[in-house]
């Protein structure tokens, strides 16, 4: 099985998780980690992944994935306007906002 071969090669990768791997994952996660955190997480994530890899021993050929237990049918409602959060309430928790204009504020992303 091609899938299984791929899994076994990854088992090797996970137990040898490098600091560069941790930095890559941290960047994807939008987390700026300290050097201490990077080394701690490298060890802990490698341990957890090595443990989790036992699922790869199970033959799941032809088994569909469960993303959701599908407890109810999908629900729709009439396409009608209903009351929603007023702008001032939505902005009330914002660390920085232009409340008169009704906008959240972030650092400049376009131009200099």
């Amino acid at each position: 099985m091609g899938t299984n071969r791929k899994c076994y090669s990854i088992q090797f990768v996970a137990s040898a998780l490098t600091l560069a791997d941790v930095e890559r994952i941290a960047a994807l996660s939008h987390l700026e980690l300290t050097d201490g955190e990077k080394e701690l997480f490298r060890r802990q994530l490698a341990d957890i992944l090595a443990y989790a890899e036992q699922v790869q021993q199970i033959d799941t050929t032809g088994v569909p994935a469960t993303a959701h237990v599908d407890a109810g049918r999908s629900v729709e409602r009439a396409d009608e306007l209903t009351p929603c959060l007023p702008v001032e309430a939505a902005l009330a928790n914002a660390p920085e906002a232009n409340r008169d204009a009704g906008l959240f504020k972030v650092p400049r992303v376009i131009g200099g």
């Binding site: 791929k6 990854i10 939008h30 997480f41």
Partner: protein, 495 residues
Amino acid sequence: MTAAQSARDLREQIVSGSTSAAEVCREHLARIEQANPKLNAFNTITRDRALERAAAIDRRRAAGDALGPLAGVPIALKDNMCVNGVRTTASSRILDTFVPPYDATVVRKLEAADAIIVGKTNCDEFAMGSSNENSAYGPVLNPWALDRTPGGSSGGSAAAVAARLTPLALGSDTGGSIRQPASLTGVVGLKPTYGRVSRYGLIALASSLDQIGPFARTVGDAALALSILAGPDSMDSTAAHEPVRDYMAALTGDVKGIRIGVPRAFIEAGVHEAVLRAFNAALDVLRDRGAEILDVALPHARYAVPVYYLVMTAEASSNLARYDGVRYGHRAAGAETLQLLYSRTRDEGFGPEAKRRIMLGTYVLSAGYYDAYYLKAQQVRTLLRRDYAQAFEQVDVVAMPTSPTAAFRLGEKTSDPLQMYLADIFTVSANLTGAPGISIPCGFTADVGAEAPGTTAPRLPIGLQLIGRMFDEGTLLKVGDAYQRATDWHTQAPA
């Protein structure tokens, strides 16, 4: 004193006029304010709001108005459920100052039933943990032994009910976060079927697993709470339209002919001796009352923890992407670019367990690893659901201990996240399959053998877990209620 009474008794006394909602509220607030410096069970106590609402109930009673099914009953909410105008933190620094602009559906329903919300309880950060030690506000202590954890993540709600601070509390259960702390503190904890209770206004951890449910001291009170909480919701498309059954009608005490399946091989692989003895004794009680005890096989149950930690972290990494310092919560100072604003805000705002799970989830979803981890875990999740479906062809209920051990010491597992994750071995299956589960007090460690010879072991509660068919909370409540009629564990209170 009204503080040790059940929700049902309190409501009756308030409606009959033998006490007032204001008096009940004052007594419970006094107990909370006295106990909280020791237990750290509450993040926020809503004293003024609660007293105002209690007085309003008394005025309505005086005017001859009908009162709701929880009239004047004090209730505590885990601090991951939004209450309009009341600080809601999920025990995270990143939400330290968050004040929701709307009510969760469970809040709306409880207050429509005239319950009185007395505060928001401490929990693991974003409900991530099995010991409450991941809270940004410090751990909750177990009322039975102050050097022990109350379990997690809904540890504050469990401790509040165990210490008789409130008769009812709500928690959320993603991998055992209602049932495990219920077990470790000696109270009833019910995780309803996935979709049975709306999650609108619940701060999300893992959306295919999260469910809200009640803590109580009696199964009857849990049934009453579920009657109020259950049902569809136009604000939550995952809230099921399945008809809500009459849970109070299930409380007959009669379990004759109910078939209880026990996955012996799975249980005995990793459970403490005292827990196993209390569990077996509980099965004897149910057998004596007419239930039939059968063996069932759940061959994939031993993979439930790894599957859970792959699926849950993947979903958590996605749900926690919203905390970016823009719309609410903490924001790092002085970040010059949007990228730095995000990454510094999140590094400062999240605690170590939240970071660990975000990283793990991001990793298992990332290109090249998705098939081997996330997809594989979802396939094994299907095999686990099939195991349970087969078991439920032979039996009505599956019984297991709730937790492999009684309450462990604070600090015992904090340095090794994997050991902490294994505390969830018996609870995660119900979340992965969607099935309802309940934990019911079934004894104490010291009654069934001390932990080790020559030590003075504290007397710690043990929980019996029952798992049922989808939407069959009624049978769990029936069996649990019958068990409580035959035993008095639930009437015992910590010193």
